[in-house]
Subunit: 203 residues, 3 copies
């Protein structure tokens, strides 16, 4: 169980970092820019979560091996992008991206509740953890955040739904690991279906 | 007294949220964007104040009913905006906006001083509390912050003046509630007159 | 030694503030904007360092005389800019700017290590301290961060190198003041040479 969660978390961080690099290259940034955007995409949401909760030391200071993984990924990813060969197909990337959304939502709500945050702000912190890495990425790239654009499929909405699944199940006395898995599953499935069928907010 | 302050604070948060929504609609954001910009406009300044002071837990985590009020306001406000009917006239909005500036200034300086912040940084934290919700709103909307534009009437200047009224009166041993009221009153009047007569910084 | 370090730190803060004002004037901001950008350029990196480390109270709240110096500098600098007479030549500004990069790198890594941050995240916090004042300046000015642009000479790279000089020398049991001086010297020289010969990242 622990190993599985750890593998998912690493995968999510790497996918968010990789998608950050793709965005950074489109902005014609140099390697410092690409690496910064990659790190901000991967760690920005969780860092914001810990700062809002006053949860110190930050997780990437304790688990600095996460930074090493992103550093090792970045030259490989850049080479792959240079030769215009996505080393993972768009479909696989989308799947892991949705998994990352679910995992970061679960970690955000979970840590917030552990620190005695009431349910409503805890659900917002879950959504911020899962989506604000991308918002910070767009702000540092001087773009309008993708998250707010009516042309994009549901994203924060899936995370918000997953967060409440977690909260409600804990209230109903489900076991925490079960609530965690269902939160990840619901967020993942909702997001995947939203992307495939291009569901958007009606307003 | 307590009830009056609470009503003013709620009003200020709702007005800042509403003005955030108007800005977000101009950026063609979807509901997630509109709601984020509304929450950031309303809670951004106070959140920055608490993070700069290390004042945990954040006030909207304790008083999460404030978030509920903004959530309840947002669909009503969106409907009103949709049918192009401001539910409050521009004049009333301007008055409450100036009141919000005064109240957030007072809360910023007050909490900073309580945490033994020296007068000068406390006055800056008052101004940040009152004005940086709007700056964060503009940053997330990928615009130049209105606060810095020479075409806008005095804003930070009014807040800074009010902050020093508060600090000086406390030094002169006035009662804290009296200093608070005068801080709010001076900021409010200064801002109102500045908007009506279009006072700007000369440089 | 202490006095020397203090003088360098004050100089670095003033140079970063001054270079922030030049940028702000190019954005056609009013005095509130110019002063905010100046303060963010000078104090933004160190503030981010302290927030990421949970190191409270922030240094400009304790040493608020630093703010006074920037406030005193700002009208003089604005007058100088108005009459188009840089009160320091471009060459001198570049030298002190490189010195500031070195000093902020050293202070970032030093404080991070003191708070038991592992070496890798400590080196990143050194780079963030030295460079993110400029990134925040660009974000608040609604520009793409200069730091990420392939047309600019090496900047974060020099800071990163200096940070590792500091870390490695401490590991080799050099005296901390010696490690500090070498960190500042390496960062300073690397940056100066990079600017003069226009060294850039090759990708």
């Amino acid at each position: 169980m622990q190993t599985t969660l750890f593998l998912i978390e690493i995968t999510a961080i790497l996918v968010f970092a990789y998608s950050g690099m793709i965005h950074a290259r489109r902005s014609d940034f140099d390697y410092v820019g690409v690496l910064t955007i990659a790190l901000v995409s991967a760690f920005g949401g969780g860092t914001l979560r810990d700062i809002l909760l006053g949860n110190y030391p930050l997780y990437w200071i304790i688990h600095w091996e996460f930074i090493v993984y992103v550093l090792l990924l970045s030259p490989i990813a850049l080479l792959a992008l240079e030769f215009n060969k996505d080393f993972s197909s768009r479909r696989i990337l989308m799947f892991i991206d949705a998994l990352g959304l679910g995992l970061f939502t679960a970690s955000g709500v979970g840590i917030a509740l552990e620190m005695h945050t009431p349910a409503l702000p805890a659900s917002f912190i879950g959504v911020i953890t899962a989506t604000f890495g991308g918002v910070l990425r767009d702000v540092l790239s001087n773009r309008k955040p993708l998250l707010f654009q009516p042309t994009e499929p549901l994203n924060a909405t899936c995370s918000f739904t997953g967060a409440w699944v977690y909260i409600v199940m804990l209230r109903l006395n489900f076991l925490p690991p079960l609530a965690l898995i269902l939160c990840i599953a619901v967020t993942f499935l909702f997001r995947t279906v939203a992307v495939i069928y291009n569901w958007r907010l009606p307003f």
